[in-house]
């Protein structure tokens, strides 16, 4: 568990490779192949996005691809973090929210 995170890996696997991932300006080392939303939660990333309507903070809610609250932007495409896995060199941003120019 990282500072600021309420999520703890019960059985960290020592042989899992850690890879470099960026979330906004934050540089992270995440376990390769892990569910991306899960890895970001353990790394203490929160919120994942802000809503387009009011700018309210949001994070994963369902972990099964149904709620879309875990949306992040990768390579210009807005996608569900809970439906992706950690890959080397991911550049993750928050999707456009209220007040952003490129809405």
């Amino acid at each position: 568990m990282k500072p600021g995170s309420n999520f703890r890996e019960l059985t960290p696997m020592p042989d899992t490779a850690l890879v470099d991932v960026r979330f906004g300006t934050q540089a992270l080392r995440l376990p390769l192949g892990e569910n991306l939303a899960a890895a970001l939660l353990v790394a203490g990333v929160m919120p994942f996005r802000r809503t387009p309507v009011s700018g309210a903070p949001r994070g994963p809610f369902c972990m099964m691809g149904a709620c879309f609250d875990c949306l992040v932007k990768i390579d210009g495409v807005t996608r569900q973090a809970c439906m992706l896995t950690v890959a080397e060199g991911l550049e993750i941003e928050m999707p456009a929210a209220k007040g952003d120019l490129d809405g």
């Binding site: 309420n6 890996e9 899960a38 939660l41 903070p57 949001r58 994963p60 809610f61 369902c62 099964m64």
Partner: protein, 466 residues
Amino acid sequence: MGDADLIVIGAGPAGMSAARRAADCGLSVLILDEQPAPGGQIYRDVDRASALRGDLLGKDFTGGQKLTQRLNHESITHLKGAVVWQIEDQACVSYTQAGQGAVATAKRILLATGALERPMPMPGWTLPGVMTAGAAQILLKQSGIACERAVLVGSGPLLYLIASQMLRAGVPPLALVETQTRQDFARSLRHLGGALRGWPYLLKGLKMLWELRRGQIHRYVGATNIAIEGDQAARAVTFSSGGKTRRIASDNVLLHHGVVPNTQMARSVDIPHHWDNLQSCFVPECDNWGRTAVPAVFIAGDGAGIGGAKAAALAGEIAALAIAHDLDKLTQASRDAAAQPLRAGLHKERAARPFIDTAYPAYPGALSPQDSTIICRCEEVTAGDIRRMAALGCLGPNQTKAFGRAGMGPCQGRYCGLSVTRILSDANGTAPDITGHYRIRPPIKPVTLGEIAGMKNHVTSEEKND
């Protein structure tokens, strides 16, 4: 002709059992699931997770490996990580796998897309740190990640299951804030006869309660006025129970008050639905073989009405028999003979259901939430907004789209549809069947232009990753 005789959508208990039974009858089967591993919600990633943490997830979980093993059959192709977003012309399925769009065709389609957690709108439920209890369980099963100092809120056997799994994992929840009341329990007693026929479920329930008690997990029952406090994230749960107002500080609030059929795909092909009063949700209409009004499309499992994993597996097999008969692989007599023991099993599986559904009803506070509570998480439409639409003459959910943006966000009403129907029904004094539900149009999952542009017509051998 076509890529397979049968396309099964969903590799949970219903889909896996159906695929195998169909293959055993001589059909070629293509099974598509958006998850990277078979199992469905109950047996999420069961093959990998059992080896890593089978002890804490329990035998009911690891037993799911028997089902995933059944996919090993030369006539079954399992496409993993394949997100289905459209069904057209009855048996033409569009999906995306690894960023690549594709179309597959078959003579029959079986929808086995399972359940979703019942939406539980309450003040603060959109704050970061608030998740469904199922989401916390998915983190535990699939990733071995536990949520610390959590409070579980709601009702039902799944809430106890998750609590006991967290306890075994060494990260017990701070408390269970339960919404069912003594009156609910009293009412459920008239279904006790049926429940006793389904005694293994009762026994499991009692065992879990005993485990929670021994683990000294505090349970508050009959909770009302539940709200989650916090500005940028969840910080506490407040509620009334036993005549007192209480507050528990916690950054992780896990909500659950039952599951409801995920009807998105069935609705997208215009299968008629009706309201189920006992389970307070819409269910798609199908006969006892899973056959729907749309000729080539069958449906099985929790997506056709909540019955649990074992019932889902049995219903999947029954649908497979009907499909095999349709496609001349099975005589009517052998179909009926093979279905008979499955139906007897189904009857037994369903025996405890009325007791459970009455003892653990949906939380009334989330069925008619206060005006300021957000209903549509995507577009931030409140219960008050929807009531105001009703006052202006809005009769059904599709009209709310004209009055505001409810249901128009990316989740397409998955977590607000039932609430909107309920609030409009209450406001207009109409039955949910009359109020109706959002019309669902494909794509039912977002698809990018790039994925469509590169669409392929066939399943190539490199994709057959099984």
